[in-house]
């Protein structure tokens, strides 16, 4: 190596290219794994049916009340007619304000059945979840999500305390452990947040609140009649999920002239996520590929300069018996050695991707908190995963770049007239 600095800069170009191939692929993989986890947390064997408010011009109105969504009759029909459904959970949820001793939290009041705990994988921290007997007896019991409990009871033990939800009172019988948000359902892209929930028996909700909900907004009052917010069906095995979903859709379509519900199949989401992941990877790979090409151009540039500078040496070597291909080999070996060095160092640094991205996110938290807060949850919590295939890929590309971009300068060197080259000063 004649010029250590020059060689170093050449290596740097390839190094950045290779490291970014590995990094970008690792970040892509990290994000898509996170997305998959969220989807999986919906349950791969589940089918989720949610009530959706249809566009206002299509809505059936009985008087002033907007009536839409899945019904108790739908629930009964689905459970009774589809044999592959092993378990079914219906819930009714409302946005409500919870208060205790002057502290208030706005959150989701969820009327549910004991199975709900299993199906959304809620873990109980203390106390217990809603039981069948609570449903039968229309008990005014509630279970708090971790976030709700923390906000309403920052200093006390919530168990046995009575919280207020609008004009009703409920005794706290259990507190859940914190739960990660899961993927959005029902046509929404936002992740489902479980942190400020309150769970009560669904029968109690029907008895106390009923189906009709009034909301006052900007001076006018709106009334909505919804029987069920969501039905989650659990299918016996994965293979039956898609056919069952088809039957569910057909059944519902019969009784709902307008589309006031949405069917989410996490399994389908999962498959979609896989295709998205592929696209994402290709995209990331492309970006990284561009940086490798830039590195390659850098190599070519420097090799051209080197060839010009070493014209005389080339002339001497030719005079002493080097054939054209000897000269090509000499320069090609040099570029390939440089690009290989860049490749190896890039791979080594590429393996540090998880560490570095964690560091970057951590630093962002302090240096630019506003930017940090605006990042989606999935970016904040993801960990880059180095894709094993990206290592030989990046290395192969680095060597290929060395050969491709080294070939032209090498050929130029070899095609010089030895007489001219010898005369070159």
């Amino acid at each position: 190596m004649l010029h250590p600095l020059r060689s170093l800069l050449t290596v740097l170009g390839i190094f950045i290219g290779v490291a970014s191939v590995i990094w970008l692929l690792a970040i892509g993989e990290g994000i898509s794994r996170k997305a998959q986890e969220q989807i999986e947390s919906l349950g791969a064997t589940n089918i989720i049916i949610r009530s959706i408010k249809p566009p206002s011009e299509q809505v059936q109105t009985s008087g002033l009340v907007l009536q839409y969504g899945v019904t108790r009759a739908d629930y009964a029909r689905l459970v009774e007619t589809i044999p592959t459904v092993v378990r079914a959970v219906r819930i009714r949820e409302l946005r409500q304000r919870f208060s205790y001793n002057g502290r208030m939290v706005d959150g989701r009041l969820v009327g549910c059945t004991p199975e709900y705990q299993d199906i959304v994988r809620l873990e109980i921290d203390r106390g217990r979840f809603i039981q069948d007997s609570d449903l039968q007896d229309l008990k005014n019991y509630c279970v708090l999500a971790a976030g709700t409990a923390e906000k309403l009871f920052p200093f006390e033990d919530p168990l046995g305390k009575v919280i207020r939800v609008e004009e009703h009172f409920y005794t706290v019988v259990g507190v859940c452990k914190p739960k990660m948000p899961s993927a959005g359902i029902g046509g929404s892209f936002a992740a489902q947040d479980f942190s400020s929930d309150v769970y009560i028996p669904i029968t109690t909700l029907w008895w106390r609140i009923g189906d009709v909900v009034f909301t006052r907004r900007a001076g006018s009052t709106e009334a909505e009649q919804i029987e069920l917010s969501q039905i989650t069906l659990q299918v016996d095995k994965t293979a039956n999920v898609v056919p069952t979903a088809d039957v569910v859709k057909a059944t519902l379509a019969k009784y709902h002239p307008i589309e006031d519900y949405g069917v989410t199949v996490p399994l389908e989401l999962l498959e979609q996520a896989r295709t998205t992941r592929m696209m994402f990877m290709v995209f990331m790979g492309l970006i990284a590929g561009i940086s490798l090409v830039v590195g390659g151009i850098g190599i070519m540039n420097i090799m051209l300069a080197t060839v010009t500078e070493r014209t005389r040496e080339i002339g001497i070597r030719r005079a002493l018996g080097a054939k054209r291909r000897d000269i090509i080999r000499q320069f090609l070996v040099e570029t390939v050695v440089l690009s290989t060095l860049g490749g190896i160092s890039g791979i080594l640094v590429g393996f540090l991707a998880p560490l570095l991205s964690e560091g970057a996110i951590w630093a962002l938290q302090f240096l630019a908190p506003r930017l940090y807060n605006s990042l989606p949850e999935i970016v904040k919590t993801m960990r880059p995963v180095v894709v094993p295939a990206s290592v030989p890929l990046a290395f192969g590309i680095a060597v290929a770049v060395g050969i491709i971009f080294g070939l032209y300068p090498a050929r130029r060197a070899a095609n010089m007239d030895p007489i001219e080259a010898l005369r070159h000063e």
Binding site: E313, I316, R317, R318, A319, L320, G321, A322, K323, R324
Partner: protein, 247 residues
């Protein structure tokens, strides 16, 4: 008598912007093995062209050029490279050592391109370096050597492939007179040992040491003179002269 090189009716034309330049207009001469020839002439006489042709760096436009018994006038580019590697020893005016290689490595270069670098050959390279008086500079770089030392390395390099002839292009052009004397003495020595030397020079002081002087003018041979001033071979002890003299 074996021939080192034989040039028969060589012409060389260059095309420069539509005009034809006749650099050589039919040149013939033989260089027997063991000969010591100086090619002299003013610039533009065709000296350099002839040198390039003898050095197998270029093809003649017409004529025959025998090196040993091979006509190289129409040899392929690769074949010419092989001939340069195996049959010709170059010594240049500006030494032309490769700066990043050591003395020993510079001497080894022609062997490298013949794919015959072996420990035995390497030992021979060391011997050659010692012969030219650089046995204690084997691992120095050219920039650490004086001009005369560099030229000695170049001469050792020219000898390493045991060439048909040494082709020296103004070998003393960049040297002072004392060093010139040293280098020329080395050439004289080599010739006495039986090496064929073709010297291209415009310096009479250098040219007169050769046994024959070929003068070129306008692409033609003006004269071929047997040089009476050359140190006669009889200076050698009789038996050595006989043994070394071409048959």
């Amino acid at each position: 008598m074996r021939l080192g090189a034989s040039i028969q009716e060589i012409t060389k034309e260059y095309h420069l912007g539509g005009e034809v330049v006749h650099a050589l207009r039919g040149v013939s001469f033989d260089v027997p093995e063991g000969d010591y020839v100086a090619i002299m002439g003013a610039s533009g006489s065709g000296k350099s062209t002839l040198l390039n042709l003898l050095g197998c760096l270029d093809h003649p436009t017409s004529g025959k050029l025998f090196l040993g018994d091979e006509n190289v006038a129409e040899a392929s580019d690769d074949r010419l490279a092989e001939i340069r590697a195996s049959k010709i020893g170059f010594v240049f005016q500006s030494f032309n050592l490769i700066p990043q290689l050591t003395v020993l490595e510079n001497i080894e270069v022609p062997l490298y391109y013949q794919r015959r670098l072996s420990p035995k050959e390497r030992a021979r390279c060391k011997e050659l370096a010692e012969m030219v008086g650089l046995g204690n500079r084997l691992y120095h770089r050219p920039t650490q050597l004086s001009g005369g030392q560099q030229q000695r390395v170049a001469i050792a390099r020219a000898l390493v492939n045991d060439p048909l002839f040494i082709l020296a292009d103004e070998p003393t052009g960049n040297l002072d007179s004392a060093t010139t004397e040293e280098i020329m003495a080395l050439f004289d020595d080599l010739n006495r040992q039986g090496k064929t030397i073709i010297l291209v020079t415009h310096e009479y002081d250098v040219g007169r040491r050769a046994r024959r002087i070929i003068r070129l003018k306008d692409g033609r041979i003006e004269s071929i003179i047997d040089n009476p001033q050359a140190k006669p071979r009889s200076e050698l002890p009789e038996d050595v002269a006989k043994a070394k003299a071409p048959q």
